[in-house]
Amino acid sequence: MTKVTMTVNGKAVSGEVEGRTLLVSFLREGLGLTGTHVGCDTSQCGACVVHVNGQPAKSCTAFAADLDGASITTIEGMANADGSLGTIQQAFQDHHGLQCGFCTPGMVMSSAALLAENPKPTEMEVRHYLEGNICRCTGYHNIVKAVLAASGQDVSKIAAE
């Protein structure tokens, strides 16, 4: 077992992990942060995306022991300080960007990374950036719409489907 120390959603945390402990297991089982989902466990679906030092990464495809000292943000860190939904989360709710909600944590984390890098993306840029996030409910249209709305762009002219 190795000791790891990270900053998770702004708080210093530490724990004992095995070499093979995945970041997502450390978050979910070690810290009880079950907002990050495991969809495929094969690096394909993006449900488990979190930010590692500000950049999106698949937490099912990284070892906790490799991230000693890293700063991690999960979906639990996306709400406003008063507990209300953050801008991107609110846009997903407003524009029906989720159906079952399973892919949503990863979608929100990837979208947040996109908007940090590119505050006013085009529809094509949103679709391209979210290539690694799969929605099994196939609700892509409204997901893209939500991201565009979260970026402050007018989505009233985008058709419902």
Binding site: G19, R20, S43, V49, K58, F63, A65, E131
Partner: protein, 260 residues
């Protein structure tokens, strides 16, 4: 996953020492190795992460050579390899953003997946793969599917790319995996034109020498019009037949020359 020890050295020397342990294995970004471990297709006794070795991360230019540290993530190459735009563009089109933030050039080149992108750039550029022990020319490095000149415990510390006068990479993406169904990298170097093809051959990345000759005397897409690519030894799977891939090789080479 079977259990293993985990080490995170800070220098190349420490990593080489740790890799001396029996059944030790290097860990780059883990974007190939972690799924492999989950399937229990690998069972190292210790994983030696290269991600904490500062001297192996980053992009720098020395004269006409672009040098990329072996543990540099694809996203960093996409952002910082501006001196070699075709290479930066290739790195920026690997997988998806999350994969690019963790996957590394050394891991991709060491893994030598027959559909990986970087091997085409390394071979077409005539790059030099630098390890902890020696320097290996690209022409000697790739030795078939998932097979390279690397010895056990040897790590890629950097890759040195001579920057070509003109270059372009054309990737015909397999849309589900985002790997190259076929990809062609064309580089117009001081010593002539080099054309490297990935994703197509059952022997992994290869040079299309007929096209190189034709393009060295006339660097125009039309120069390869009369050439034929044999479908002998090309990959056939549910995504494309050998003949389809052979066809793509020629089409993509023409596009790369026009775009270079």
């Amino acid at each position: 996953m079977y259990a293993f020890d985990f080490e995170r050295p800070k220098t190349i020397a420490e990593a080489v020492k740790a890799l001396g342990r029996e059944d030790a294995q290097a860990l780059g970004g883990g974007q190939t190795l972690i799924p492999t471990l989950k399937q229990r297709l690998a069972s190292p006794s210790v994983l030696v992460s290269l991600n904490g070795i500062k001297e192996m991360i980053g992009v720098r230019k020395e004269g006409d050579t672009l040098i990329i540290g072996g543990a540099t993530p694809h996203a960093v190459v996409a952002k910082e390899a501006g001196a070699y735009p075709a290479l930066a563009a290739l790195a920026g089109a690997i997988g998806d953003p999350a994969v690019r933030n963790r996957g590394t050039i050394g891991g991709s080149v060491a893994n030598d997946d027959p559909a990986a992108d970087y091997p085409a750039a390394v071979l077409a550029s005539g790059a030099t793969v630098v390890t902890n022990a020696r320097q290996i020319a690209a022409d000697d490095f790739f030795q078939g599917l998932f097979t390279t000149a690397l010895e056990a415990g040897e790590i890629i510390t950097e890759i040195r790319f001579p920057i070509p006068g003109k270059a372009n990479y054309q990737k015909f993406q397999q849309p589900a995996s985002r790997f190259a169904l076929t990809g062609v990298f064309v580089a117009k170097t001081a010593g002539g034109v080099r054309v490297a093809v990935t994703g197509a051959s059952e022997d992994g990345v290869f040079r299309w020498t007929d096209a190189e000759q034709a393009l060295s005397s006339n660097f125009a897409a039309g120069a390869i019009a009369g050439l034929k690519v044999s479908d002998d030894g090309m990959i056939g799977d549910l995504h494309g037949t050998p003949a389809y891939r052979a066809h793509l090789v020629k089409v993509l080479t023409g596009r790369a020359v026009s775009a270079a």
